[in-house]
Amino acid sequence: MSLVLAAVCIAIMVVMALALARSFSSPTVYDRILGINMFGTKTVLFIAVVGFLMGRPDFLDIAIVYALINFIGMVAVLRFFEYTAPVE
């Protein structure tokens, strides 16, 4: 079982790396935000899987915080982006 969890863990890290690469080089600024959002949701799953892999799944609280902050950060980015959008 832990073999499967380890494999899943590595695969999620690959997805995270891809999302990070998307946010590094993106055609539009919205793609960057999209990559960052995907990175955030994947880290939530990553923490959950790592908790089970290490045998201490009682740290799922941190995954909840990630989900919360990811959502609030996303809203904040969109909100302040509306203010900053006109580039002189």
Binding site: S23, F39, T43, V65, L68, V75, L78, Y83
Partner: protein, 325 residues
């Protein structure tokens, strides 16, 4: 497995830092800084520091990024082309980095159990704190009980920072008769979902506040999460609506109340015949006294951090809304 995860995460962290150096779009810089904080919090989890990861994820990634975004809205989002040569800074950085790397060679190897760090007070904390304080979470016992004086200092520093920000920026209350439309007026889905999510976040903040003795969490984290819920409300529904829910004046009172609550526990224990912040004297049974003391001071920390973070956000957001009409 731990080493592998550590290595991959550190590599991502290094790449993110490199990317931040070369980006000129400050908006992207701040978003990548949010990712940087998230990644470092993942490293903290991997290195067993769950409480620290909790704090970094909520404070570093959440509040810092939001404040930086608010500043960018006022100062413009592109960095101007730098005409100075970057050779000298590069030289300085290389020399300093080489010196530091030379210094690390004298450090004890990473992760060894007999490093000097682990042989001073740490064994006592690990072995005695469950008996002396009676809490399973050693970080909370050290933070609130053994180093309670230090934590009082940190709370006062946070409070002082709020005073500094408010003195520099101030919160302008807009008159109620000419409230501009602010917030996401046309994002109906977002408005409904925010209404649904905010109670959940506040509930979770209360859970973190009172479960911090047994799992990761505590006053600092809970205060920030509760502030994040109200920040979400202010972002979606606009600042004037948020002022009607929690006013800036009320928050200033709340911030000082938290610090006073913390300090009054210390004074009360002196009054009962112990030292300052000596929780053993708070009740007949020392263990119960420790428990009362920790719950009350964590509450004080939580209230102060909540009020400070929210007033700092108010200060920045009212500048932004005023500057962009």
């Amino acid at each position: 497995m731990t080493e592998l995860i550590d290595l991959v995460l550190l590599a991502m962290l290094a790449l993110t830092a490199l990317k931040i150096i070369f980006l000129k779009d400050l908006f992207a810089v701040v978003m990548l800084f949010g990712i940087y904080s998230f990644l470092s919090a993942l490293i903290f989890i991997n290195l067993d520091a769950v409480d620290v990861a909790f704090t970094e994820a909520s404070v570093g990634a959440g509040i810092s990024s939001v404040l930086m975004l608010g500043t960018l809205a006022l100062t413009g989002r592109t960095e101007k082309e730098n005409k100075r040569s970057s050779l000298l800074p590069l030289l300085v950085v290389t020399v300093t980095g080489a010196a530091l790397i030379y210094g690390t060679l004298d450090m004890p190897p990473f992760g060894a159990a007999n490093n000097p760090v682990h042989e001073h007070v740490a064994p006592r904390y690990i072995e005695e704190s469950p008996k002396e304080v009676g809490l399973p979470n050693m970080v909370t016992s050290v933070l609130a009980s053994y180093r309670g004086f230090d934590t009082l200092g940190e709370t006062v520093v946070v409070f002082a920072a709020a005073i500094g920000v408010l003195a520099l920026l101030g919160v302008r209350r807009e008159k109620t008769d000419n409230v501009r439309q602010s917030g996401f007026t046309d994002h109906y889905v977002l408005r409904i979902i925010a209404k649904l999510v905010i109670p959940l976040i506040i509930l979770f903040a209360l859970y973190v506040q009172f479960h911090g003795d047994f799992g990761p969490g505590g006053g600092f984290q809970a205060g920030v999460i509760a502030a994040a819920a109200f920040i979400l409300y202010a972002l979606v529904y606009g600042l004037p609506s948020a002022f009607r829910v929690v006013g800036p004046k009320f928050l200033q009172g709340l911030a000082s109340f938290g610090v006073l609550l913390y300090a009054s526990v210390g004074l009360y224990s002196m009054f009962k015949g112990g030292q300052f912040l000596d929780y053993n004297k708070l009740a007949v049974d020392p263990l119960a006294g420790q428990h009362y003391g920790i719950i009350i001071i964590e509450l004080g920390v939580g209230i102060t951090v909540f009020a400070v973070m929210l007033s700092i956000y108010y200060a920045f957001a009212s500048q932004t809304e005023r500057g962009n009409t």
